[in-house]
Amino acid sequence: MARFEDRLWADLTRLHDSGIALELHREPRSKSRKTPLMVGGIASAGAGIAVAIALSVGGASTAYAVSPNSDGSVTVTLNELVGVSGANTQLEKLGVSVRVAKVEAACAPIEPVTPVSPEVATTTTQGAVQSVTVQPSAVPTGDTLALAAQEVDGHVAVVPALVRGSAPSCVAPVKELTATPLQ
């Protein structure tokens, strides 16, 4: 039972570390309701345990969450742009070549734009919240995975992009990459 037990514990830890308040109330659901979306965890089908969380609105949700996973990956969740520096502090502490960069029009663009393979990072969305799970060991040596964060329709969209060297503190709008649409 070790593998199932360890995987479940990793997800429980992620829930706890993200500081997201959980209150469980059961509501009747109609069959027509869409499948709840997934946030955090491992997004590829059948690849393990993923965590789906519906965040409270206007409550005690945190600005960001950085959660190391048992397989070495790291999940970054940004609820508000104000959480960018806090997330980067945590990423630096973890010693990973991943940084969040705010998208601002006056900043330099990422050139060239390198699409990110699923082995490096996957993005999942739950309601208004987008998370990126990064496998730091898959980031090429000398590169940094920049998570370009921008506000879209009142929510924070995060687009991963590989950059040479260290990540900038901000980037121009990333037009070439399509952010995972918020559902």
């Binding site: 039972m1 070790a2 593998r3 199932f4 037990e5 995987r7 479940l8 514990w9 997800d11 429980l12 830890t13 829930l15 706890h16 500081g19 997201i20 308040a21 959980l22 209150e23 469980l24 109330h25 059961r26 509501e27 009747p28 659901r29 069959k31 309701r33 499948t35 709840p36 997934m38 089908a45 059948g46 690849a47 393990g48 345990i49 993923a50 965590v51 789906a52 969380i53 519906a54 965040l55 409270s56 609105v57 206007g58 409550g59 005690a60 945190t62």
Partner: protein, 194 residues
């Protein structure tokens, strides 16, 4: 089966607020590691489906984590506390199945078990085969009598722990256990199984 998240400002305590005790996360892990198997076995006695077993086990520990701040070890220990949560989780699941709700709609944990985990869970389900068969044979007993037998004679809880898990006074549990064992013994003698 669906869950939604209520406004946490309406709650008195939340999991995020719980660590006024900084050791709470490691204490919870200790409880988790010690009793994950028992909770999984509880559901393995109730379902052949490893996905269902995985999901319900996950649901139980999410709920346990959320309510850990209110957990009182003096009230009977972690195992009966977790079993009590597991019972509620299973009851909700059965209700959803009965009402034909889309039980695939899960709001907080979707345990998409991989092949290795499936194999582990299937081994657990197989290990609980005798327990499942016994529970089927107990179907004529009242639900509480059946659960008393299961928790004490199959899951290995003490009568006091089983009482806590079932929300019964200890004496009432012992009476039910005594009656249930008596009926079972009578039935076995009748059918020549002893």
């Amino acid at each position: 089966m669906g869950y939604s998240i209520a406004d946490p400002t309406s709650r008195q305590k939340t999991a995020a607020e719980a660590p006024s005790d900084p050791g709470a996360p490691s204490k919870f892990e200790g409880i988790y590691r010690k009793h994950c198997g028992a909770v999984t076995a509880f559901f393995a006695r109730r379902s052949h489906d490893p996905q269902v077993v995985a999901d319900l086990t996950a649901d139980t520990f999410v709920e346990a984590m959320s309510s850990f701040s209110s957990y009182d070890p003096c009230r009977g220990g972690a195992r009966p506390w977790l079993i009590a949560i597991a019972r509620r989780v299973f009851a909700k699941y059965c209700e959803d199945v009965t009402r034909e709700r889309d039980v695939a709609h899960r709001a907080f944990i979707q345990a998409n078990v991989d092949a290795d985990e499936t194999e582990e869970l299937l081994r657990r389900i197989d290990a609980e085969r005798e327990g499942r068969e016994l529970i089927k044979r107990l179907s004529h007993l009242s639900p509480l009598e059946r659960e008393a037998i299961e928790l004490v004679d199959i899951a290995g809880l003490t009568p006091k722990e089983a009482a806590v898990a079932l929300g019964l006074p200890s004496g009432a549990l012992r009476v039910r256990l005594f009656r249930a064992r008596g009926r079972l013994r009578k039935e076995q003698l009748h059918h020549g199984k002893i």
